[in-house]
């Protein structure tokens, strides 16, 4: 069966991993780096992703998208407070945020799909086979819309997303596999944009999640912002210069803040340096670890309450936790480790690279799905309670948070008025009493046969599948008929929109592929032309005029094909040239052998 890869689609960085020989491996790119920065830039030559796109953050801030994960499954109103921080333009259409890049707008799943495609290609190049199926990780505390958006991103990227799994549980799989852990563990996962805590029980290969909690809007980005705000404030005070009106410099500030933060995990004092616009010279400032910690302490402390709530939901106290595992780049901060250790009263584990462990776990889950690993099983939970709106704007809970998934609940609906033909159902997710304080997931209208009030009995089944995604079905109890439901997501792409995006993506993919093949063929043609020139210089006197003239003809043919657009034609002419130079190559080989032998003799003599 075809291989399934595991993908960590992160706020800041993304990775792809696969399972081989009973162990998960992260796939490096051509630059040997395992992480692909989750950055997409629109350049004059088209869209680029990853490391090269990262360079455009300061060069071309309005057209370079980063931290798109923060916008997955969201409407514009959800991110109102932080719009000012992003240099690219956000709008909304049909309840879904759109990002404007040049003339076109893209939904967050489309941008994420570009990152996924980069990872897909990386895996294909490394493994030498086509990759069409994947397991993708999401923060445990992601709601239904955010999970659905991630699944949509996979589809747009041409991937069949076989499973969405939670990042902390993925990490526990990687740890559990490596350390053969048994007992109760807490996974503390603080990434670039999200925080999760999961409490699991590990027993004989079963990874049972007891409780999870978190904050989908808290991570390294927020720490960077604290530092960046400090720099911007000081530059305004000292120089009277308001950097907020220079998007390129704001990006430089953000990147310098991130660098400073990262270095302060190992050093006690770091000097941050920024070039100021308009020839105003430089701003430089020492930042100590103590200063960083007083800037970020409140944020880090915000992670402790979810930890306490998760323990409470699991009916445990911190002394019941056997091991604490740290995941996510932000857990490298000494302050984070210190507070986590104080809360759980034990030193946390961080043997596995916190940047890679989620992708490694996703690869393990992929192997379970493909039937390779059969002794491990993850039993995860739904992070948020699911319910429906009842009279008075109150939410009635159907599936409680921290219920093991798959989970289902049935609800019977009837009518109030004679001849009523529909019942409107509003699905919600959250822990609050009132509808308005919870997340609206979707609405649909249940069709009811026109009968006296109270007579129709429609049973609706709400099923949360193993991905944590809701499926709804309805059955008329009197007739036994099932009805298909057109569920309208509150914050998601409609099915036909996803279809269209998949279509566009294939078209782009075909264009992209053609462009890439052409570039590759041209590059290789250049290489073979150069090698031929070199060989002619060394050995033209060793072959006959007939050989020389056919070589020259073949060179001209490659050059002509190179200026065309057809990569296959270039490759064909390259093959011809290789044939034409065959004799020359042999002669050169002989002569260099002879030379080598002669040299040897000379050295032997002397």
């Amino acid at each position: 069966m075809a291989r399934i890869v595991g993908i960590d689609l992160g706020t800041t960085n993304s990775l792809v991993a696969y399972m081989a020989g009973g162990h998960p491996h992260v796939i490096p790119g051509r630059n040997e780096r395992t992480m692909v920065p989750s950055v997409v830039a629109m350049t004059d030559n088209g869209l680029i992703v990853g490391d090269p796109a990262k360079e455009h953050l300061t060069r071309n801030p309005e057209r370079t998208v980063y931290s798109v994960k923060r916008f997955m499954g969201k409407g514009l109103e959800d991110v109102q407070s932080e719009l000012a921080y992003f240099p690219y333009q956000l709008t909304e259409q049909g309840g879904v945020i759109r990002i404007k890049l040049g003339e076109k707008t893209y939904s967050p799943p489309q941008i994420s799909a570009m990152i996924l495609k980069e990872l897909k290609q990386r895996a294909e190049a490394h493994l030498g086979e086509s990759i069409t199926r994947a397991v993708i990780t999401v923060p445990a505390y992601f709601n239904d819309s955010q999970r659905q958006a991630t699944k949509d991103a996979g589809m747009i990227a041409g991937l069949d997303v076989l499973r969405i799994i939670n990042e902390p549980t993925a990490a526990s799989l990687a740890y559990g596999l490596q350390r053969k852990t048994q007992g109760t563990i807490a996974v503390y996962d603080l990434g670039g944009g999200t925080f999760d805590i999961s409490i699991l029980k590990l027993k004989n290969g079963i990874f049972e999640v007891l409780a999870t909690n978190g904050d989908t809007h808290l991570g390294g980005d927020d720490f960077d912002r604290q530092i960046a705000d400090l720099f911007v404030r000081e530059i305004l005070e000292q120089q009277g210069l308001d950097l907020t009106s220079y998007p390129d410099h704001m990006q430089a500030v953000r990147l310098e803040a991130e660098r400073t933060k990262i270095r302060l995990s190992n050093e006690l004092k770091v000097t941050a340096v920024l070039d100021l616009p308009g020839g105003k010279g430089r701003y430089s400032r020492d930042l100590t670890r103590d200063q960083l910690e007083s800037l970020t302490r409140k944020l880090v402390e915000r992670t402790l309450e979810p930890c306490r709530l998760a323990l409470k939901d699991a009916a445990l106290t911190s002394s019941d936790i056997d091991e604490v595992v740290l995941v996510g780049g932000s857990t490298r901060m000494p302050l984070v480790r210190q507070l986590v250790q104080a809360l759980f009263g034990k030193e946390p584990h961080c043997e596995l690279n916190p940047d890679e462990v989620v992708a490694l776990g996703a690869a393990v889950q992929a192997d379970i799905l493909s039937g390779g690993t059969t002794d491990l099983l993850l039993l995860d939970v739904t992070p948020l309670s699911l319910g429906i709106e009842t009279m008075g704007g109150v939410m009635s809970s159907l599936i409680r948070r921290n219920t093991t998934i798959p989970a289902s609940a049935k609800e019977m609906f009837t009518t109030y008025v004679d001849g009523q033909t529909g019942v409107d159902i509003h699905i919600l997710q959250g822990e609050r009493e009132l509808v308005k304080d919870n997340r609206s997931l979707a609405r649909f209208r249940l069709k009811v046969p026109p009968l006296p009030a109270g007579v129709p009995r429609i049973e609706v089944t709400f099923l949360i599948d193993a991905n944590g995604i809701l499926n709804v079905s309805a059955r008329d109890v009197r007739t036994g008929d099932t009805q298909s439901l057109a569920v309208k997501p509150s914050y998601g792409l409609k099915d036909d929109e996803v279809e269209r995006m998949i279509g566009e993506s294939y078209k782009f993919a075909a264009d992209d592929l053609k462009a890439r093949q052409l570039i590759e063929a041209r590059t290789e043609a250049d290489a073979i032309l150069m090698a031929t020139e070199k060989a002619l210089k060394q050995g033209a006197h060793l072959v006959g005029e007939e050989d020389l003239s056919s070589i020259r003809t073949a060179i001209r043919a490659v050059e002509a094909a190179k200026s065309g657009e057809d990569h296959k034609a270039i490759r064909a002419k390259m093959a011809d040239l290789e044939k034409a130079t065959h004799h020359l190559a042999e002669v050169l080989m002989d002569s260099s052998l002879k030379e080598a032998l002669e040299n040897k003799k000379l050295t032997e003599i002397t």
Partner: protein, 238 residues
């Protein structure tokens, strides 16, 4: 939004019992898999949670045995292991897993377990929770008054601290009451299990059975009421 009535997958809302393999149409003798074609079979909706999880229909249960069976069945049913199977098998796997998870969650918790057993033996317990326990009636009325008074007094005033002390003592009393009810419930569990173990079919046994079920029902209903009062109290005085 229109009116809807609650129904949590009542075990008596039955479908036809399974007896024939959905795939090869042979008689299914195996527990959850067809003996002949080895396909997974849908867990019958008629199966009660105790039977599904392979434990006797008792109120005191062996948690380890329950957990082991849950893990064993999870390995048998979980969708992770049906990725390469037919759509029909995937659907069965999903349905069975969801049912298994509900069954485990219900039986694991003593209160939910007792409610479920009551439901199986004597009908739903859902509608009977609207009056306070008779012997606590006066006390609770007074408590409500004190709570209302407390909510309207100035913080840091003398009245406030007097009322606060009074509420604190009420809280202690109610929490003791909760513990007493739990002990009583435990005893009822033991009585029920003993009656089941004797397996008598006499008229006297039937009377005994009805008495125990009635007392469990009262206990659970009072318990919920007191629990709500206590949480209201705790959220008010902090």
């Amino acid at each position: 939004m229109d009116h809807h009535t609650h129904s949590t997958a009542s075990p008596r809302e039955l479908q036809m019992a399974r007896s024939m393999c959905w795939h090869c149409q042979s008689e299914v003798a195996g527990e959850y898999f067809c003996d002949r074609c080895v396909k997974v079979q849908p867990v019958s909706k008629e199966l009660d949670y105790f039977t599904c999880l392979g434990i006797p229909r008792r109120l005191t249960i062996d948690q380890h045995q329950l957990e082991n069976k849950f893990y064993e069945l999870s390995r048998a049913f979980h969708p992770d292991f049906y990725q390469n199977k037919s759509t029909a098998e995937q659907t069965i796997s999903l349905g069975n897993s969801a049912l298994l998870n509900t069954a485990y969650r219900t039986l694991r918790d003593p209160i939910e377990r007792a409610e479920y057993l009551l439901d199986l033996e004597a009908g739903s317990v859902k509608e009977i929770r609207n009056s306070p326990p008779a012997d606590l009636f006066e006390e609770i009325l007074e408590l409500q008054d004190t709570l209302n008074e407390y909510r309207t007094t100035d913080r840091a005033s003398e009245t406030e601290s007097t009322l606060r002390a009074k509420l604190q003592s009420e809280r202690n009393t109610l929490e003791q009451r909760q513990r007493d009810m739990e002990t009583a419930l435990q005893q009822l569990f033991v009585q029920w299990d003993a009656l089941q173990d004797r397996g008598e079919a006499t008229g006297q046994a039937r009377v005994e059975r009805d008495r125990i079920l009635k007392e469990i029902r009262e206990n659970l209903s009072n318990r919920t009421y007191v629990k709500n009062i206590v949480s209201d109290l705790v959220s008010t005085i902090g």
